[in-house]
């Protein structure tokens, strides 16, 4: 955990403390602070905007209810991501699993300021992610996208660190073999290669 992470966690804890006293302004600050990363995290599970908003609100509703019982065993961000992950899985069971796939409204959804390079990068990424399982996509997002450690991811997904390592390994191998471009054909190998 670097200094920035420590500072932001201190701020998050203070916000949680205020929330436990019924401070809705603190809730609004935390909501704004986490909305972007939660949105991106949840798009690895579903493409439906209404479901994403529902999950985010479920997550913060639980955080509002349990703010007083947060003991600080982990960082606030880890705690919140864990709640969001479980709410996301629950939403998937209710609404049906929608893997990452090309959407006919993709062009409409892509922000107008998106540059061609970014659009190309998104397409490149979605080609890889669509080959991964939901759990592998989540691990990739948490490690590369959010920047969590293996221990954090294990807490979020409520599984052993070894399971996280295995998911990360297999996801990386799949991405390496699927994603075109920089790695080059000559560098592609199978999982069974030494």
């Amino acid at each position: 955990m670097n200094d920035d992470d420590t500072d932001s966690d201190v701020t998050d804890r203070m916000l949680l403390q205020r929330m436990s006293a019924g401070d809705r302004v603190a809730l609004g600050i935390l909501y704004h602070s986490y909305h972007g990363r939660l949105c991106r995290f949840l798009t690895r599970l579903t493409r439906r905007a209404d479901v994403i908003e529902e999950v985010i609100n479920d997550c913060f509703w639980i955080a509002w209810q349990k703010a007083g019982s947060f003991h600080g065993d982990s960082r606030v961000s880890t705690w919140l991501m864990g709640i969001a992950y479980r709410c996301g899985l629950k939403a998937l069971r209710q609404h049906g699993d929608e893997p990452v796939e090309d959407d006919p409204r993709h062009e409409e959804r892509t922000p107008a300021h998106d540059l061609d390079e970014d659009r190309e990068l998104r397409d490149w990424l979605s080609k890889g992610l669509e080959r991964l399982s939901a759990d592998q996509r989540v691990v990739i997002e948490l490690v590369y996208g959010v920047g969590h450690t293996l221990d954090d991811v294990a807490v979020i997904m409520q599984c052993p660190v070894g399971t996280v390592k295995a998911r990360l390994f297999h996801a990386r191998v799949k991405l390496r073999n699927v994603l075109p471009g920089l790695a080059g054909d000559s560098a592609r190998h199978t999982e069974s290669a030494p």
Binding site: G36, C39, R40, E53, I56, N57, T149, R176
Partner: protein, 215 residues
């Protein structure tokens, strides 16, 4: 777990280290070591380039637009709305079950009660008789003017019949183990007392006693 590169331990170490160097959680020494390794290893360099691109792609904002202000507004509105209690449907289902059980118990109790009353009322006067049961003796009180008569064993049937006919009597019971008959006047008009006196004076009648006078 095997690694997807045909390299030695250094490549394996580099493979494991890449995500943490990319997210800036590796130590400075680890970062420097990886940098040295990448300078010498083309495969790992290509891998690291792809990993960097992956991180860059994953850091792009979500492409599914979700309005943060609208979402927060709905969340705040939700906080003001009492959550529907999940226990309510359960308790409703519980009530339904309880009521059904109570109704079943009441029906059973009612049935048992009716059966009990029926058995109790039928207990004094059963509507059946087993083959081993003795036929019920005619109650003396039910036959007015009944007389218990023991004729002599030598008395002929003709004499017995003639005597009964003369005294306007009829056999209503017997003979029992000692050969006693129960006789009664044929019609209420006949006098039992007179018949009793006649019987006592008749030869061949060993005993003649009114049933009512029996101790």
């Amino acid at each position: 777990m095997t690694f997807p590169m045909d390299s030695g331990k250094d490549c394996v170490r580099a493979w494991e280290m890449m995500p943490w160097v990319l997210q800036d959680s590796a130590t400075r020494e680890q970062g420097a070591w990886l940098e040295d390794h990448l300078a010498q290893c083309e495969a790992c360099r290509a891998e690291f380039a792809q990993q960097s691109r992956l991180r860059l792609a994953l850091s792009l904002p979500a492409e599914v637009p979700v309005d943060v202000e609208a979402g927060l507004g709905r969340l705040l509105a939700r906080l003001d709305t009492p959550e529907p209690q999940e226990a309510r449907p359960r308790s409703r289902a519980g009530n339904w079950l309880s009521r059904a059980l109570v109704a079943a118990v009441l029906v059973q109790a009612l049935g048992i009660g009716i059966l009990g009353v029926k058995l109790w009322s039928a207990g004094d006067n059963p509507a059946y008789r087993t083959l081993s049961q003795e036929p019920r003796e005619i109650l003396p009180a039910a036959t007015p003017g009944a007389i218990r008569v023991v004729p002599d064993a030598c008395m002929t049937l003709a004499d017995w019949n003639a005597l009964l006919h003369a005294l306007r009597l009829q056999v209503v019971g017997g003979p029992n183990d000692v050969g006693a008959y129960m006789v009664a006047p044929v019609s209420p008009a006949s006098t039992a007392q007179h018949a009793l006196q006649q019987l006592r004076t008749t030869r061949g009648i060993l005993l003649a006693e009114p049933v009512a006078a029996t101790p």
